[in-house]
């Protein structure tokens, strides 16, 4: 998938000010707040093959996508629970021919509707149809400024030119234009050109999101994680651009999402497990984030139980709420409510224990794993052509495993 709308910085995209929302939605006296955010992953099908995709490695195992009626029921239930921001994502959501119908229904229910797309499958007629359906916002992902790098990352030679044309068409249709560029070691040194391209396209905001290392990105970590020197240079470039844009009076916001592998404290992932965010996967599995599917636990689906029951009462959604599940060093740490112990997916991917302290934290006994990844990133790493592309063929290998 291209990227994901998030209350925190996981998956390549981010919301800017959800600290307040998360704080305002904190459980009071043990009560769980409403899922303010719904991410509807309509499909795992995608014409691109980005090697940092956050979809599960075994996505090819998921066959029975929810029908139009089932999705409308999900939207209705989620809205009744208080969800108000929603993203249509995937895979590539434009693959679904009923997207316009789902957008219209979501808008009618009162959702603020975001389409998170690669722009493949978009044309001017569809932009117009989505506009008429009431879509509020289209976020297009770019892979690079350089067509060759973009082609290698996305596994498609034609995609880049198409994306540029559609970005201009989206802007012309009167949408706020937010571009999302997932950064990694093969494109981060071109950041100056990338921002210049976004400026030229007339973007209102640009998310410069260092790829977060889950799913296919974790598989390809050695070939994706930038070195610390690359990261510092990119941050300096971003600062320079912010000054230039301000001098020109150009209102283009640059949001730089750092890779948490270079932090000493973990991110408060998703504002907390089952706190404000809910993902519904293509087959109706309900997840606390779009990566959680790979955890060693099973999640209920909307085909089995009402959404309200899943969110408030199911065992998986309650397992990592609050702090009673925490182990040391989190359990006795003063900062445990600020960062909620970090990310459960990252803890599992790196230590094998989803209840462990996120190894990003330098108080974690497993922090050496992060330091080793940093050292690896400082040296020579895999070339672009050595990355495993995300496609059905590669996924089947993980299905069998």
């Amino acid at each position: 998938m291209s990227s994901c709308p998030m209350p925190t910085d996981k998956g390549g995209s981010t919301m800017t000010d959800h600290t307040d929302t998360a704080a305002a939605n904190q459980p009071l006296h043990g009560h769980t707040g409403a899922p303010l955010w719904l991410l509807a992953e309509l499909t795992y099908r995608c014409p691109l093959q980005c090697s940092y995709c956050s979809n599960p490695l075994d996505f090819a195992d998921v066959k029975e996508e929810l029908t139009t009626d089932e999705w409308i029921d999900v939207l209705t239930q989620a809205r009744a629970m208080g969800a108000v921001q929603m993203g249509f994502s995937g895979g590539e959501p434009l693959v679904r021919q009923d997207l316009e119908m789902l957008v219209a229904e979501a808008r009618r229910l009162g959702f603020y509707t975001n389409l998170i797309t690669s722009a493949l499958g978009l044309d001017e007629a569809r932009i117009l149809a989505l506009r008429e359906a009431g879509l509020d916002h289209i976020q297009i992902s770019l892979q690079a400024s350089d067509p060759d790098v973009a082609a290698a990352v996305a596994g498609s030679r034609k995609a880049h030119a198409k994306k540029l044309a559609m970005a201009r068409a989206v802007k012309a249709a009167g949408y706020p234009m937010v571009l999302n560029v997932v950064l990694h070691r093969h494109n981060i040194d071109q950041l100056d050109n990338i921002i210049a391209l976004c400026d030229d396209l007339g973007a209102d905001a640009v998310e410069l999101a260092n790829c977060q290392l889950y799913g296919w990105a974790h598989l390809n970590r050695a070939g994706l994680l930038p070195s610390e020197a690359q990261l510092e240079a990119a941050e300096a470039t971003t600062r320079r651009w912010r000054e230039t844009l301000a001098e020109r009076g150009r209102d283009m916001r640059l949001l730089f999402v750092v890779p948490d592998y270079y932090s000493d404290r973990p991110k408060a992932c998703m504002g907390g497990w089952g706190a404000i965010f809910m993902t519904v996967a293509p087959d109706g599995a309900v997840l606390p984030c779009h990566s959680a599917r790979m955890l060693p636990m099973s999640f209920p689906t909307v085909r089995e139980r009402p959404l309200r029951e899943i969110w408030y009462d199911s065992e998986p959604f309650n397992r990592y709420r609050g702090d009673s599940w925490m182990q040391e060093p989190c359990r006795s740490c003063d900062e445990r409510r600020r960062d909620v112990g970090g990310c459960r997916c990252q803890a599992y991917l790196l230590t094998g224990d989803p209840a462990a302290t996120d190894p990003v934290c330098d108080l974690s006994p497993d922090h050496h794993l992060i330091e080793a990844a940093r050292r690896e990133a400082a040296g020579d790493a895999r070339t672009l052509n050595e990355l495993t592309l995300r496609n059905v063929h590669a996924s089947r290998i993980f299905c069998r495993a």
Binding site: A24, G82, G174
Partner: protein
Amino acid sequence: MSTTADTGMNGSTVYRLRPGWRLQWEEAQQRHVLLYPEGMVQLNDSAGAILTTLDGQRDVDAVVATLQAQFPDAPAAAIEQDVHEFLSDADRQGWIHHD
């Protein structure tokens, strides 16, 4: 009324929400929220009341007069000050803009 230096606001400034942004009452949260691409600002009662009066026609003075008529029990000067402070702040935050 004095001009607010950094936003250029004065009594005849007409503010509107940024394109693509939406103000909405949320029954579940019992408050107004400001919705924008992938984000949400949760508003308190006075912020919600002020933004509700921004209809693309009213200028700042008219917003003040509307709210003074709507809340006759509140001191008029306090309402005026609240509106000016909130609108400058909302402008600086990028929630609203003017031509």
